[in-house]
């Protein structure tokens, strides 16, 4: 028995050296097959409208970054002490979602005025759990338009709301709002002066419907304040004259706008020819009768 015991113990030990790791591996295999998700979040504030966070969830599939749809994220507002659940959001078929902040005052902020919003994904069968957060301070841009010495201007002042201080040396972009991308006006780099203000002349001749132009003043993707956008309606545009060829009678219009000449000539021909046909067929009937 002794011999057996020793031999068997040795075999057992050797075998367990193989079995136990494979057991552990089996358990781990469940976890390591899941895909890692990345959450990207950007804070944007549009003065006079809303503040929102744009979220994109993506993963690396087949060595390519792909946006993932239908990821359910819970949104929290945090500061050093507390955590407040704000709600949930799900990414759409493009892997994107927009979480609108209804009231900034309801969010938790820390002593320096920083807001922290975190997004947590619980994970599912395919994807690992993940989270990310966005830290920002509240900034305000006040933009207005005026004309001086027959030159049109847009001026904008940016300040930190919590500290109530004007922000100097900030790079602001000034654009005219257009259909796809906005048209930059002013200098390439507009830095705010000591009073947190920029002054940008609006050139003549930019077309706008009824002469209206919406000018945007944007603090783009700043580390502290996120993206802050102010819109100002200005009357500085050149009124657009719309082309009305569509309403005219042309060769290429739809059938309800046939050129008069064709309309008259064609119908005249048709009615004359077929009118004579009717007359001839009547003659045939007359011949039959007589």
């Amino acid at each position: 028995m002794k011999n057996l015991n020793l031999r068997h113990v040795v075999i057992l030990v050797l075998l367990s050296a193989f079995i136990i790791p494979s057991l552990c591996q089996k358990l781990e295999a469940q976890n390591s097959d899941k895909i890692k998700i990345r959450i990207k979040a950007n804070y944007t504030k549009v003065i006079g409208e809303s503040s929102y966070i744009d979220i994109t969830t993506s993963a690396r599939i087949d060595k390519r970054n792909t946006n993932i749809a239908n990821i359910n994220l819970t949104v929290f507002s945090e500061n050093d002490d507390d955590e407040l659940e704000l709600g949930e959001t799900i990414t759409d078929h493009d892997g994107k979602s927009r979480f609108i902040i209804k009231d900034l005052n309801k969010l938790l902020k820390d002593t320096l005025g920083f807001y922290t919003l975190s997004f947590k994904f619980k994970g599912n069968d395919i994807y690992n759990k993940a989270s990310n957060d966005v830290v920002f301070k509240d900034a305000n841009i006040e933009a207005k338009s005026f004309t001086k010495d027959s030159i049109n201007y847009v001026s904008a002042t940016i300040k930190d709301v919590f500290l109530d201080s004007l922000l100097a040396e900030k790079l602001l972009n000034v654009n005219v709002k257009r259909l796809f991308k906005s048209l930059p006006i002013g200098e390439e780099f507009n830095y705010t002066d000591e009073s947190g203000t920029i002054l940008v002349p609006v050139e003549e001749g930019i077309p706008g419907i009824d002469g209206n132009l919406v000018v945007e003043v944007i603090l783009s993707d700043s580390d502290d304040y996120g993206t802050v956008k102010a819109l100002v309606n200005t009357p500085f545009g050149k009124p657009v004259v719309f082309d009305d060829t569509f309403d005219k009678r042309t060769l290429w219009s739809s059938r309800d706008k046939t050129p008069i000449f064709i309309l008259i000539f064609a119908n005249l021909l048709i009615f004359t020819i077929w009118g004579i046909f009717i007359y001839l067929i009547i003659n045939l009937f007359k011949i039959k009768k007589s």
């Binding site: 060769l251 290429w252 219009s253 739809s254 059938r255 046939t258 050129p259 064709i262 309309l263 064609a266 021909l269 048709i270 020819i273 077929w274 004579i276 046909f277 007359y279 001839l280 067929i281 003659n283 045939l284 007359k286 011949i287 039959k288 009768k289 007589s290």
Partner: protein, 439 residues
């Protein structure tokens, strides 16, 4: 009276002999083959043809243009010859009318074959745009069908009456049919007045309608920017081409019918002589237009035009172009200038060359231009740079030609190919003339 009986006996429709039956059956076989090919085209789509995005119109369209051109013979023979008081036309008018009718009906059918969505045919009426040349075509073709029918029918009334009487005993059913079609024709003064007035109106109307038909057909091409089509003289070119095709077809078919029905007494060498001169005139006018279209652009030698013409003169279409021009146009002119060239048998071959030349001429008009777009042909398979019709297209095209022949055959079978009443009238008229002169 005896003469009348002879005329009726000679000109009346006769039963089909063995040869005629074989002919008809072969036509039907060809038509059935074409129908099967067409059904396949409906199911699979037009990818069964060899048309592709560059050669977007093929022999369906050139066949269509050919039919439209040939249908001009009705206007030409019946109306123009009538209005110019060429009385020798009497024995040939009916055949001309029959050819005209058959051709224009087949034109209407052929263009529908070219439509890739024939299930949406009604859109051409419900959603018609008057600005489009195709809409004008949709108006003019049915109009020409009706006018050809009327042109054929009105002069037939007295003939139907004669045939009704003639067949009363031997073929009562046929006689009844003729009777119905005769519309109670008694030859009364009132009826004759109505008929003559109507024929006069039709004869006058068919000229502008016929010219309009050829013009609109030409405008399908000349309303585009394409080289070879964008010509301000394309419409007169097409009209004179129709003149040639129509008279050529007439000559060929008259010879065949004359031989088949032994009508040598009625359609004489004199008629062929006249027709020959008529055809020569037509060909000479057409040659004039050909020179304008193919030679004159060489003077300004615009790049696109020169490329196009080189394709025709020395390039991939040169064989077709020269065959069509020399054998289909120039040679006939030369032959027809001689009296010997206007003998019936020679005329038959000349007519045949002219007709076949006319068919291929329209292929030369349609295809090379399409393969010469403004921008180079790139990004498509190499086969798309050429076009030769596929089996489906040939089967369907032959079927349309067979259908045209079938319509003609049926008409020739049941209608007197030479107007009986008019022949009788002319005989009477010439008798009274000789009586008057002798007495």
């Amino acid at each position: 009276m005896n003469d009348h009986k002879i005329i009726i006996r000679d000109l009346k429709p006769k039963k089909f002999g063995k040869r005629d039956t074989i002919w008809t059956i072969s036509l039907i076989v060809i038509i059935v083959a074409g129908v099967i090919a067409y059904i396949d085209q409906l199911i699979k789509g037009q990818e069964v043809t060899n048309m592709r995005d560059y050669a977007l119109w093929g022999i369906y369209i050139s066949n269509f243009v050919f039919f439209v051109a040939t249908s001009f013979v009705g206007s030409v023979t019946v109306a123009i010859l009538r209005l110019t008081n060429n009385n020798w036309r009497t024995p040939i008018v009916r055949i001309a009318e029959i050819i005209s009718l058959a051709a224009i009906i087949m034109a209407g059918i052929t263009i529908m074959i070219d439509m890739a969505r024939p299930d949406r045919l009604l859109n051409l009426f419900i959603h018609a745009r008057l600005q489009s040349p195709i809409t004008w075509d949709v108006v003019i073709i049915p109009s020409y069908i009706v006018i050809s029918l009327l042109l054929l029918y009105f002069p037939l009334l007295p003939d139907f009456a004669i045939l009704k009487k003639h067949f009363k005993k031997k073929k009562p059913k046929l006689s009844k049919l003729y009777g119905k079609l005769a519309l109670n024709w008694t030859g009364s003064k009132a009826q004759k007045a109505l008929q003559e007035k109507s024929i006069k109106i039709i004869a006058i109307m068919i000229i502008p309608v016929g010219i309009l038909l050829q013009t609109i057909d030409a405008w399908l091409f000349s309303t585009t920017y394409r080289i070879g089509w964008d010509s301000s003289s394309l419409a007169p070119y097409f009209i004179s081409g129709a003149f040639v095709a129509g008279v050529g077809a007439l000559v060929t078919l008259i010879y065949i019918i004359r031989k088949a029905k032994k009508l040598e007494e009625y359609i004489t060498d004199f008629h062929f002589d006249k027709l020959g001169k008529f055809l020569a005139l037509a060909c000479m006018i057409y040659l004039y237009f050909n020179i304008n279209e193919y030679v004159m652009p060489l003077f300004t030698a615009k790049e696109g035009e020169v490329d196009h013409l080189n394709e025709l003169f020395t390039g991939s279409y040169s064989i077709g172009f020269w065959l069509v021009t020399i054998i289909g146009l120039i040679l006939p002119i030369i032959i027809l200038l001689f009296k010997k060239g206007r003998k019936p048998k020679v005329m038959f071959y000349v007519g045949l060359a002219v007709v076949i030349g006319s068919w291929w001429k329209r292929f030369i008009i349609v295809t090379p231009t399409l393969l010469h777009p403004f921008l180079p042909i790139q990004g498509v398979p190499e086969s798309w740079r050429h076009y030769f019709p596929s089996l489906h297209e040939w089967l369907i095209t032959f079927a349309t030609l067979a259908m045209a022949f079938l319509i003609i055959t049926v008409c020739v079978r049941y209608l007197p190919v030479i107007p009986i009443q008019r022949t009788i009238d002319e005989l009477e008229a010439s008798k009274t003339n000789t009586k008057n002169t002798s007495s």
